[in-house]
């Protein structure tokens, strides 16, 4: 019976890809392990191998086709003795329920929210009042739709062009072009001296990078994920963060530690932790966690220039999402300044990084019921723009925080403390912290979904604090 060959999911977060090249043609005989095609994902170009043997009966998707959804039939394979007439009957084989389900369970992201006041904004979620925003760039500036991934790469490239002593080091940043393609093209432009592939040795190369910073360079250390930075925690905290103080101001570690942080999709407990609250506690560190591509770019450029060690927490799911980024020669956003992502009067929702997805979604849902939420994107967790939160709470008298990290010792917990101490008389309800559940991340798709914070939980929390 003829078998349909389906577009494969080649990474945990892949939903679609480009069928870059067919390496077989109709009529070719293939065996298990033969390379059928090259498929380009948001992360890399990968070879796609045959699982079954047979003859390529028909190619359904031409090479060069972009945006091919996972599980779309791309070719038909005929078994021995079958001819092309069997192709029509192949349909019965496509259902592959398990795979289809996986796809459904993959995080369904809302369409990216474009800053509504930017000229190029197509304002996809514009049912609600247009959210005014803190202007990060002059009115009328041309913008370009850019993914977070490209924005990060562009920021590093611009800073490397600007300053010879900036270099990138980490696992697979060079020849592999970045495990998540963030450093794509940098090796070609800057060469192996400045785009340094390291062995898998986080503790060691982080220490070397700290020493290089002491020695006058401006390292950018990429952790393939921040989970691996745990191996290097001593160098980050004891060596990078504390030296300026211990030396009485004589020397410090101007450098950036960056990489994806928090849950991706279905990668299990050891690869799915949000470290914002951990790093937030350390005097001497700055901690940045951007949501949009514009913030990713502007904050990354500032982080690289900052004379202190900066923890830059990215998110794998956000990498592929597009936002408007201003076209400017040198676009930077200062560290330590929050952004009002949406203005409102009834409640203040504070979030950062991917948490903004839930916060903004919840705000839209609430608006439909007449509850206008003000959404604050912290952008920098340390130093934290608590003034912005307090100002907003003085207006709304209610606050809900949203993050994917764990509840005990959370970023939201700290915000609650600040509000208790500095805005107690302005609060009409207890602050509610919406967080990830207090469990290691499970693998099963349904459990993982529930382990993370959800938009419904944010909506529910807002209803509680607004008594509506």
């Amino acid at each position: 019976m003829a078998t349909e060959i389906l577009m494969p999911a080649l990474s945990p977060t892949m939903e679609e890809g480009t069928l870059a090249k067919w390496l077989v043609k109709e009529g070719d005989t293939v065996a298990s392990g033969d390379i059928l095609a090259e498929i380009e994902t948001d992360k890399a170009t990968m070879e796609f191998e045959a699982v079954d043997e047979g003859t390529v009966g028909k190619i359904l998707i031409d090479e060069g086709t972009e945006g091919v959804k996972v599980n779309t039939p791309i070719a038909v394979l005929l078994e021995e003795g079958e001819d092309a007439s069997a192709i029509d009957s192949a349909g019965g084989n496509t259902g592959d329920d398990a795979k289809a389900e996986v796809k459904e369970e993959t995080k369904a992201e809302p369409k990216d929210t474009v800053p509504a006041d930017s000229p190029a904004a197509s304002s996809p979620a514009a049912a609600a009042p247009k959210p005014p925003r803190t202007p990060d760039w002059p009115e009328g500036t041309e913008t370009k739709t850019t993914t977070v991934r490209e924005a990060l790469r562009d920021a590093m490239a611009e800073e490397m062009r600007r300053e010879d002593n900036v270099f990138l080091m980490g696992e697979e940043v060079g020849e592999y072009q970045g495990a998540y393609k963030i450093s794509q093209g940098l090796l070609d432009e800057f060469g192996p001296k400045r785009v340094v592939d390291t062995p898998i040795t986080e503790h060691g190369f982080t220490g070397i990078a700290v020493g290089a910073a002491f020695g006058g360079l401006r390292p950018i250390v990429e952790f393939m994920t921040f989970n691996f930075a745990m191996q290097a925690m001593d160098q980050i905290i004891n060596s990078a963060a504390k030296t300026l103080y211990m030396s009485g101001g004589q020397m410090g570690a101007p450098m950036v530690f960056r990489g994806p942080n928090g849950a991706a999709a279905r990668v299990g407990a050891q690869h799915s932790q949000d470290y914002a609250a951990w790093f937030m506690q350390i005097p001497g560190l700055k901690v940045v966690m951007p949501y949009s591509a514009a913030d990713a770019k502007g904050l990354m450029k500032s982080a690289i220039r900052d004379p202190n060690p900066v923890i830059f927490l990215e998110n794998e799911i956000l990498y592929g999402r597009s936002f408007e980024v201003p076209v400017m020669d040198d676009f930077t956003i200062p560290l330590g300044k929050a952004r009002i992502a949406r203005e409102g009067t009834d409640v203040t929702i504070v979030s950062f990084g991917i948490g903004m997805t839930y916060a903004l979604e919840a705000a839209e849902k609430l608006a439909a019921d007449g509850i206008e939420a003000e959404v604050i994107d912290l952008r920098t967790i340390r130093p934290m723009d608590t003034d912005a939160i307090i100002e907003s709470v003085k207006k709304t008298n209610r606050c809900v925080t949203v993050e994917e990290g764990w509840p005990q010792g959370s970023v939201g917990g700290y915000i609650s403390t600040v509000l208790m101490q500095e805005a107690f008389d302005h609060l009409d309800a207890p602050v509610i912290n919406c967080t990830g559940k207090d469990v290691p991340m499970p693998y099963a798709a349904n459990l993982e979904k529930h382990a993370l914070v959800t938009t419904d939980e944010v909506v529910e929390a807002v209803r509680k604090v607004t008594y509506k």
């Binding site: 002593n165 270099f167 001296k193 390291t198 062995p199 040795t201 503790h203 060691g204 190369f205 982080t206 220490g207 070397i208 990078a209 700290v210 020493g211 290089a212 910073a213 002491f214 020695g215 006058g216 360079l217 001593d234 160098q235 004891n238 060596s239 030296t243 300026l244 103080y245 211990m246 030396s247 009485g248 101001g249 004589q250 020397m251 410090g252 101007p254 005097p283 001497g284 700055k286 220039r305 004379p307 202190n308």
Partner: protein, 348 residues
Amino acid sequence: MATRKTSDTGPAKGSNPAPKGSNIPADELKHYYREMLLIRRFEEKAGQLYGMGLIGGFCHLYIGQEAVVVGLEAAAEEGDKRVTSYRDHGHMLACGMDPKGVMAELTGREGGYSKGKGGSMHMFSKEKHFYGGHGIVGAQVPIGAGLAFADKYLENGRVTFSYFGDGAANQGQVYETYNMAQLWDLPVVFVIENNQYAMGTSVQRSTKSPSLWERGAAYGIKGEEVDGMDVLAVKEAGERAVKHCREGKGPYILEIKTYRYRGHSMSDPAKYRSREEVQKMREERDPIEQIRQVLLSGQHATEDDLKAIDKEIKEIVNESAEFSKESPEPALEELWTDIYAKEAPQEA
């Protein structure tokens, strides 16, 4: 792997045909004597001030190990860098940092190198290219390689000395660093100050591998064992190591066999070794006594010359002690400074 083992067979009063040090100018020999004596007397004074309650917390004395840093500093050039652990007073004095500033840091005063905010274990000097003063065992090893990474990147021809003890030699990050230092040909000398005890645990109780420097062979790094009680032997080995690095051949390991007379820190029960062992080392191998004998027997100096040096050192150390007592405690505002830099640091 070509390696070399220098003699570590005891005191200088051996049976060499030419008297030891006879080919070295008298001033140079006197310089070693003077530098080692400065460290010894400084540390004795620090111990005394600790006993008087003027120095708090940890205080790791360098007494017995003086030949290591004095020998290696003699092999260094201006601009070369050094980084070490928490047993760091000797390194700072040997690289020319002001004894007053070091002692005042020990007493936690404003005049200390870190304005009193670092303490015994955490001092730095950009001017003297001294990068600390690190309290986590082994953490300074990749930092040293990182300084060398910067030097290679900047193509400035400098070499870094990354000091660590026999205890740190069992930390994983040391071997991560060996691997990368050799991979990238970093100009770093890994100096293992093997004083035979990691706190109270002897090398024999820590590892079955016969020598620490030979572990570098697994990464292709050359090295050698050196008699760390003989300042001249240390200097010679240091010159070989520095030459190797400066020629762009990558890192080099020196395992310098030395001995610490005092406890690990100030409250050491001293149950892990015998009094006789310490006494024997002091009497037979003492680095200062050895160079003193070279000076006198080779007629490079008279007893009176050496007495004059002793007196000069005593004055320097007393001055540093006085300064460390008189310098005020840091202003309370200092609690809140130096947490974040406002401007990019300028490399000296």
